[in-house]
């Protein structure tokens, strides 16, 4: 693979001298603006308006401290600049007047936005998200496993969960933070004996059933011949568990020897973990080839007490129960299955014992092995002093900045009574740590208006690309105040993007920006889409992650988001896409030839599934997605009281016919001429992202019914009058304006990474970023670098 060229980037200092804007402008509404309004706008936008903008009441100037009407003026500016207002049916304003007014308005809006940023900071206050809290506790204490299960999920806010303005804290949060800290410390502090053990499954309990071929086990498994081991013929979760007895949380190795049995095609083994609340997670899948010898497969997974890991295989939609019964039980069954030659679980696996997490908490204290295999702390006589030095050691990492002794003293003092009572040191150390890990200093990102100091910069950078606290190198660079140097910052971004922790950014950013966290929020109708199985459900969300990571790694053009000559698939997803000859369940980059309908984000099953409801597709939902998430030009919400479109899957009519009727109404058409066309282009893809030429109909999901089902028509005309016959031509139209896609992408990055929505004064900076990278086709990695170097990223 090509290595990206070292970004020849922009060490340009974005922005401009702040002194130019120090005079607080008591804005005077320019006469030309009044003139334009009176001539062209007030007819509709007066006190009697049916719209939500009454220009006669709009204040030109902000009430003290508040946003005032400026947000609305920004909207006025945008609508008029884009030519949407006055509407096409009305007279055009005088060009010169319009230019004067827009320039004036732009200046004023920019200036007052900048003043506001200077005065109170662009980003007000923000806290760690649930995800960031989890990763921070893990990285801080060197533990694995999720400790934030009691923390409430971030609510849907229509934007990124990092945006401070949308965040809240409740007592439920606070209590859950205390609990998360508790759980994290309990995982970290391990002074007992090493609980590592190995459990082999000898399948003895299946023996009885094997003698009774039609009884439960005997209709599902049989003894392997030659043994030892069992053959599994059905995809069940209660016969081939590794163990029911996970007694200590940690990383476990699931070790098996497997082969395909009586099969001409690959058999996919699945490693699944059932949790206590009933969920089940596919942690690994692997293809076993028909002619292959038994193979050792080792999978590592974090397990906690109560979880049950088990082994099964993909039955590819064929439930062989009847066939097994017909052959008199699995003893004589000749169908395909999974041969399990051995099955073992080993763990918990740690680098050392006591684990590194324990050493992290007790830095500088010697651990002494006791007679019983446990460990005890070799403590100084002055417990409080010992505690103080531990807290002092860890505090700069907890608060992610320099910490003064005076600051931590109150936390240390919390342990006073515990020391007095003579509580064991490994217990009393939790008192200050627990409170620090629930404190505002830990949970919030501090900062005053103005330029971020080096520690704050390290934090912003680290939570952007790693979703966690700065590592030692970043902290060192912050301490020496080197980090804020452009060249150092560039090198750090390079380093951080190479680090596997950057996958967290990819997952979370795509999860929120493209709503991919919701990809499995709907389950496809089983009758209509019987091919949607566990392996596919598991593969679909991974494609955009691999794809986007590749764009970053190879510094590829933003155009790839719309169309690309490659994508990432495994065998299961390749089958879904009808891409031949892909082997294995691991994801691999595949070249897409000219004739392929895939390429870019929009044709990835993850996007297509997220934008459908499981049973049907709606061009409105998908069109809205393209406009809002890809292009950053969201349509106006539907007027109140308007019903939604009712899909009809009986095969009598199509969504296009329903929408066509809708669009005959001019007031609907205003917006739907924008919304529907991208959705029409995507009609070639069903709710699980499969390519289709005809709609599947419910009720009679048989071959004949589907042959005569209505055909898909993916053609359309954009609001700009450009015709397209389907998704291929539509992508070409989208690619005519790469800048819009790049602009939206940069805006999303800015909002996500800084924790505040894009503001008017940011526009200039974003424009500069786009200008610099236009010639290279807006390469993704460069755009990330530019955002980090920009004024908005480096100021509060």
């Amino acid at each position: 693979m090509l290595r990206p060229l070292a970004p020849t980037l922009c060490f340009i200092a974005f922005g401009f001298p702040t002194t130019a804007w120090t005079t607080p402008a008591i804005a005077q509404k320019p006469a030309e603006l009044d003139q334009l309004i009176n001539q062209h706008c007030i007819g509709c936008h007066d006190a009697d308006t049916e719209t939500d903008v009454d220009l006669s009441k709009l204040h030109y100037g902000a009430a003290s401290g508040g946003q005032g009407d400026w947000k609305k003026w920004e909207k006025v500016f945008d609508r008029v600049t884009q030519g949407e207002m006055p509407p096409p049916s009305e007279d055009r304003p005088d060009a010169k007047l319009l230019e004067t007014v827009l320039n004036e308005l732009k200046q004023t809006l920019h200036q007052r936005s900048l003043e506001r940023q200077k005065e109170s900071g662009r980003v007000r206050i923000r806290r760690l998200t649930k995800l960031e809290l989890g990763y921070t506790l893990q990285d801080l204490l060197k533990i694995q496993g999720e400790v934030t299960r009691s923390v409430p999920d971030e609510p849907e806010s229509g934007s990124f969960d990092t945006i401070g303005a949308n965040q809240r804290i409740s007592a439920v949060h606070l209590e859950s933070y205390l609990q998360a800290a508790d759980e994290a410390l309990a995982l970290a502090i391990r002074l007992g004996r090493n609980p590592k053990k190995s459990i082999k499954n000898d399948f003895a309990f299946l023996k009885d059933w094997h003698e009774n071929p039609l009884n439960l086990g005997g209709s599902i498994t049989r003894e392997l011949d030659p043994g030892p081991g069992v053959a599994l013929f059905r995809d069940v979760d209660y016969l081939t568990q590794f163990t029911y007895d996970i007694s200590a949380p940690g990383i476990y190795q699931l070790k098996t020897e497997l082969s395909a049995l009586q099969s001409k095609t690959p058999v996919t083994a699945k490693f699944i973990v059932k949790d206590q609340s009933g969920g089940a997670t596919l942690v690994h899948s692997v293809d076993l080839l028909p002619d292959e010898d038994k193979r050792v497969i080792e999978v590592e997974s974090f397990l906690r007490p109560g979880e049950v890991p088990y082994l099964t295989f993909d039955s590819e939609g064929n439930e062989p129960f009847v066939a097994i019964m017909a052959s008199g039980g699995s003893k004589n069954y000749q169908g395909r299955g999974l041969a399990i030659h051995s099955q073992e679980i080993i763990g918990p696996i740690t680098a050392t014992w006591p684990p590194p997490s324990t050493e992290t908490v007790f830095t500088g204290i010697k651990l002494q092995k006791t007679l019983f295999g446990g460990y005890k702390l070799n403590l100084a006589s002055d417990k409080k002093q010992q505690l103080r030095s531990l807290v002092l050691e860890i505090a700069p990492r907890v608060f992610r900045r320099e910490v003064e002794l005076a600051e931590i003293e109150p936390f240390v003092n919390l342990a006073d009574s515990a020391i007095e009572e003579g509580r064991p040191f490994d217990q009393l150390v939790r008192v200050p740590l627990r409170s620090m890990l629930s404190s505002p200093q830990f949970l919030f990102f501090d900062g005053q208006p103005g330029r971020l100091n080096d520690y704050q910069l390290a934090n912003r950078l680290s939570y952007f690309l790693w979703k966690s606290l700065p590592d030692a190198e970043l902290m060192m660079l912050a301490e020496s105040q080197e980090l804020s140097k452009s060249s150092v910052l560039t090198a750090q971004v390079e380093r951080m993007l190479e680090d596997p922790k950057s996958e967290r950014f990819v997952r979370d950013f795509l999860g929120q920006w493209l709503r991919l966290y919701e990809v499995n929020a709907t389950s496809p109708d089983e009758k209509l889409y019987p091919e949607f199985d566990e392996l596919l459900a598991n593969a679909i969300p991974k494609e955009p992650q691999y794809f986007f990571s590749e764009l970053i790694r190879e510094n590829l053009s933003i155009a790839n988001l719309v169309d690309s000559d490659f994508t990432f698939v495994n065998r299961r997803l390749a089958k879904h896409y009808k891409i031949p000859e892909i082997k294995g369940q691991n994801f691999q980059r595949v070249a897409l030839d000219e004739s392929s309908i895939r390429g870019g984000l929009l044709t990835q099953a993850a996007i297509l599934k997220t934008t459908a409801n499981g049973t049907t597709t709606s061009p409105v939902m998908r069109g809205n997605f393209v406009l809002t998430n890809l292009l950053g030009t969201p349509p106006s919400p539907p007027p109140p009281g308007i019903g939604s479109i009712e899909p009809d899957t009986r095969g009598k009519t199509t969504i296009r016919k329903i929408l066509a009727a809708h669009r005959e109404d001019e007031s609907c058409n205003q917006c739907h001429k924008e919304i529907d066309p991208p959705g029409f282009a995507l009609e070639s893809f069903d709710p699980i992202g499969g390519f289709r030429q005809r709609y599947r109909s419910s009720g009679q999901a048989n071959f004949l019914a589907n042959m005569f089902a209505p055909a898909v028509d993916a053609s359309g005309v954009t609001s700009g009058g450009q015709k397209f016959s389907g998704i291929e031509e539509f992508k070409a139209i989208l690619l005519q304006d790469k800048k819009q896609i790049a602009k939206n992408f940069v805006q999303q990055l800015v909002a996500y990474s800084t924790g505040a929505e894009v503001q008017f004064a940011d526009r200039e900076v974003i424009q500069e970023i786009l200008d610099v990278s236009r010639e290279d086709g807006y390469p993704i990695r460069d755009l990330i670098h530019s955002v980090v170097q920009s004024r908005i990223f480096r100021e509060q």
Binding site: S120, I125, A171, L216, Q276, S277, P410, A418, S435
Partner: protein
């Protein structure tokens, strides 16, 4: 807001409202003012809800009578409940939609929540009916709610966030927690935990104050939120501390001894059930869920040699059905004993059962097919006018009954889960 009487009328159920009489039981709260919002109807006995599930169904031919009438002709199983005939209603036709999970037993998770597609990838449970009730009526008691299980910590109680509340499996521990004064060191540890929490919150409060003074002027909403959260969390601890100070209700019963043999599922269930009337009468909690299950053991029941789960897949084999019948009979007898005990306790001129709605049934309709349709559901007590056997149209949301039940508990809701109304009979 509607008052309870209106709601109950609207649901088509006539309910004997409790008389205004002072409670006969000595409440732990009687001597000191309640730290929590006091019950508006402190004069009348409180209303309680008990939710009991046997997770492998009840063999339908043994359960459902031929005709849905009040004076039904008893069936094998209903015969066991003969003495309570007027105290319960048996329903057929009720179910939750979309319960085909990864495996049929996943409907155990959703019996009280009605969340769809349990166990499938991305599944997330929702609040259970008992927990919703506890949210509204749990504040006045030492425990907001209580979840009990025969074998393991699995319960059918789920929080708002879909998190399972672990079940208590030890009657002895439960009894000790509610009715026995702890050993000094236990009390000390408990107090210590609360004190630690309190001083941590205290310290955080003063730190937050300092930060608030320092922080930039215009937008402090998160710090303000945080400050308020500290206050609420502190008051939660304070109420726990208050309860610690209050003497526990004194009961005459002997503390139960736990049964450690996990195959004695019936004995274990009975022990749990014996605790329930005591817990309710002392107003230690008003919401209880009980899960009776063990798939893989051979229950210690005379004449039973197969494990419960295998027997439930009887495949119409008469010998298996016979054994299954024995297990199910024992479980129904547990239920019967619960009703009997609740009936024998008097409060304010009524029986405890009059003020306690008991839901009993299973998350599986036909265990042989392992499907979650046409669930066996009984509602007992609660002051409802009981009607023998009521056959609802197949597919009627069980959640409609949940709504009716919630309203009977003075929880002012008109929807729950998959409900599309209330249930009348």
């Amino acid at each position: 807001m509607l008052d309870r009487r209106t709601l109950l009328r609207a649901s088509g159920v006539s309910l004997a409202l409790p008389l205004l009489e002072s409670m006969t039981t000595s409440s732990a709260l009687a001597t000191t003012p309640a730290p929590m919002p006091s019950d508006a109807n402190a004069q009348t006995p409180p209303r309680r809800g008990v939710f009991m599930c046997t997770t492998l169904g009840l063999h339908p031919p043994n359960l459902f009578p031929d005709a849905p009438v009040k004076d039904y002709k008893s069936t094998k199983y209903l015969e066991l409940l003969q003495e309570h005939r007027d105290n319960f209603t048996l329903f057929s036709g009720l179910q939750h939609e979309d319960q085909t999970g990864r495996q049929p037993h996943d409907s155990e998770m959703t019996w009280l929540t009605a969340a769809r597609k349990p166990g499938m990838g991305g599944f997330r449970n929702t609040i259970s009916v008992d927990q919703l009730a506890a949210k509204h009526i749990g504040d006045a008691t030492r425990l907001r709610s209580l979840s009990l299980g025969t074998i393991k910590a699995q319960s059918q109680s789920y929080t708002d966030g879909g998190v399972m509340i672990p079940a208590h499996t030890s009657p002895a521990k439960m009894f000790a927690q509610l009715f026995l004064d702890g050993k000094p060191h236990e009390i000390k540890a408990q107090k210590q935990k609360l004190d630690d929490g309190k001083s941590i919150l205290d310290e955080l409060r003063s730190q937050t104050k300092a930060l608030q003074r320092k922080a930039s002027t215009s937008d402090n909403h998160l710090l303000d939120d945080y400050f308020e959260s500290l206050r609420v969390a502190e008051s939660n601890i304070a109420s726990a501390q208050l309860w610690m100070e209050k003497p526990k209700p004194k009961v005459e019963s002997e503390p139960p001894k736990d049964i450690f043999d996990s195959a004695d599922i019936i004995g274990r269930a009975q022990l749990l059930i014996d605790l329930v009337p005591l817990i309710l009468q002392t107003d230690s909690t008003r919401v209880v869920s009980i899960m009776v299950q063990d798939h893989f053991s051979v229950p210690k029941v005379e004449g039973v040699t197969g494990n419960h789960h295998n027997l439930s897949h009887h495949g119409q084999d008469p010998t298996k059905i016979k054994q299954l019948e024995k297990i199910e009979t024992a479980i129904i007898e547990c239920f019967s004993s619960l009703l009997g005990q609740l009936k024998s306790k008097q409060e304010a001129g009524q029986t405890l059962l009059d003020n306690t709605s008991v839901l009993f049934g299973s998350n599986l309709g036909n265990a042989n097919a392992h499907h979650a349709k046409n669930l066996p559901i009984m509602l007992a007590g609660g002051g409802y006018e009981h009607a023998g056997y009521v056959a609802k149209q197949e597919g009627t949301p069980l959640c409609n009954l949940f709504v009716t039940l919630l309203q009977g508990l003075s929880v002012e809701v008109d929807t729950f889960g998959q409900s599309n109304g209330t249930l009348s009979w």
